[in-house]
């Protein structure tokens, strides 16, 4: 079964619940650093949870390009399609 980006986004939002301490509503443009106030450690933990959920490898190399939740959803989509 192939997931589309919006389904991936929805699943990511769910995985992010424990990391969304301020319980803000998450949109594709929500940023990890300023909106969610996650430090780099928390971002890495969250990515590990996302990797496990989708059973994919998110290389550390692309981390600097992932500033928003939407960007992560797109990255996961690309990795799943590869």
């Amino acid at each position: 079964m192939t997931l589309n980006t919006s389904e991936i986004f929805d699943q990511i939002c769910e995985i992010m619940t424990p990391f969304n301490i301020k319980a803000i509503s998450i949109k594709t443009g929500t940023t990890f650093a300023s909106d969610l106030e996650l430090d780099s450690l928390a971002v890495m933990d969250m990515l590990a949870a996302i990797e496990d959920h989708f059973d994919v490898t998110v290389p550390l190399n692309i981390l600097p390009d992932l500033e928003t939740v939407g960007q992560v959803a797109e990255a996961i989509k690309t990795i799943l399609d590869e």
């Binding site: 450690l41 590990a48 490898t57 550390l60 190399n61 590869e82």
Partner: protein, 400 residues
Amino acid sequence: MTLDLFEKFNTTIENFNQLPSGELNPFTVVMDKVISPTEAIINGRKTILAGTNNYMGMTYNKQCMDAAIEALNTFGTGTTGSRVLNGTYNGHKKLEASLNDFYGTDHAIVFSTGYQANLGVIATIAGPKDYVVIDADSHASIYDGCAMGNATIVRFTHNDPENLEKRLARIRRKDPEAGILVVIEGVYSMLGDQAPIKELAEASKKHDAFVLVDEAHSIGVFGQTGRGVAQEQGVEHLVDFTIGTFSKSVGTVGGYCVSNHPKFDVLRLVCRPYVFTASLPPSVVASATKALELIKDSNLRVKLLENSMRLNKGLADAGFNMGTTGESPIAAIIIDEQNTAIAYWQMMMQEGVYVNLAVPPATPNGLNLMRCSLSAAHTFEQIDYMLEKFISVGKNLAVL
């Protein structure tokens, strides 16, 4: 408007400026005079050194100093050149032979620092089609080696073989042919915990990955002949590359990598942090060679671990929240508030004890630590003095 390149450092500068200046700043300590491996004069005060990585006290070993002086007199102050041009003296070859003898390996390459050894080896042997899989708590030099190279970088949860195995399986499923390098450390320097090398290396071998172990904090300290944690755990046969430094137990400066890989020596031609920098000065090389010889046959590691256990146990018994257990030469107290940790550090200095204030990003899990690295050269008297001061300052600051 032109942008000032230094604008990006504004927050760092602001944070630094909030720290007290002068002798109360934990990051601008100056050693005015060094008396011994365990004592120095700092701000005019005689201070016990309890945070210098001088595990064996080798910096003032008479035989090491004599060897350095002789090399200095014979070969001069420096080589002024790269190992591949004019910078290889017979001392460098002798040191590499000593490393092979020390580790029982076929190949040894000496670098100018341990940082460069990690940078060079990791960035060079893992190419664009390969993967480097690193422990999340890896030292900066390992992260920087990854950043310098072209491989795909994957992290696994600190010291977690199952997590590593899961990640390796994922890589293999996607890329059955890829070269994979797994990088771990023998001892993690902040909390002194050992890697379960056996389990991590077995998971690696199951997926045909190469294993690199950085024994920076474990050479001399662990294993029957001081080779490190892999020797201690009896799993050296599972390790493909061992990296280490001369800047801690060995008491000088420099780095190395040893391996049995038949093509290992090609790194002398292709590893840029080896080629494009000057080689170590002859005096450094001579003292490192002598120190390796001494470390191999010495029982200083027994005394070192005794010292560490004494401090760790004393602190734990006093009721501190400890990050360490005393099984390595590190003792670290966890302090909740960073400002308390800074004050703690300052008060210890005023009591004549130098320890490390360790804060993120150098520490795992965002911890603030009062970190000590013990030395075999510490006396019980010095350790009991540190302990007494840790307790009185701890009470003063309501940490205890």
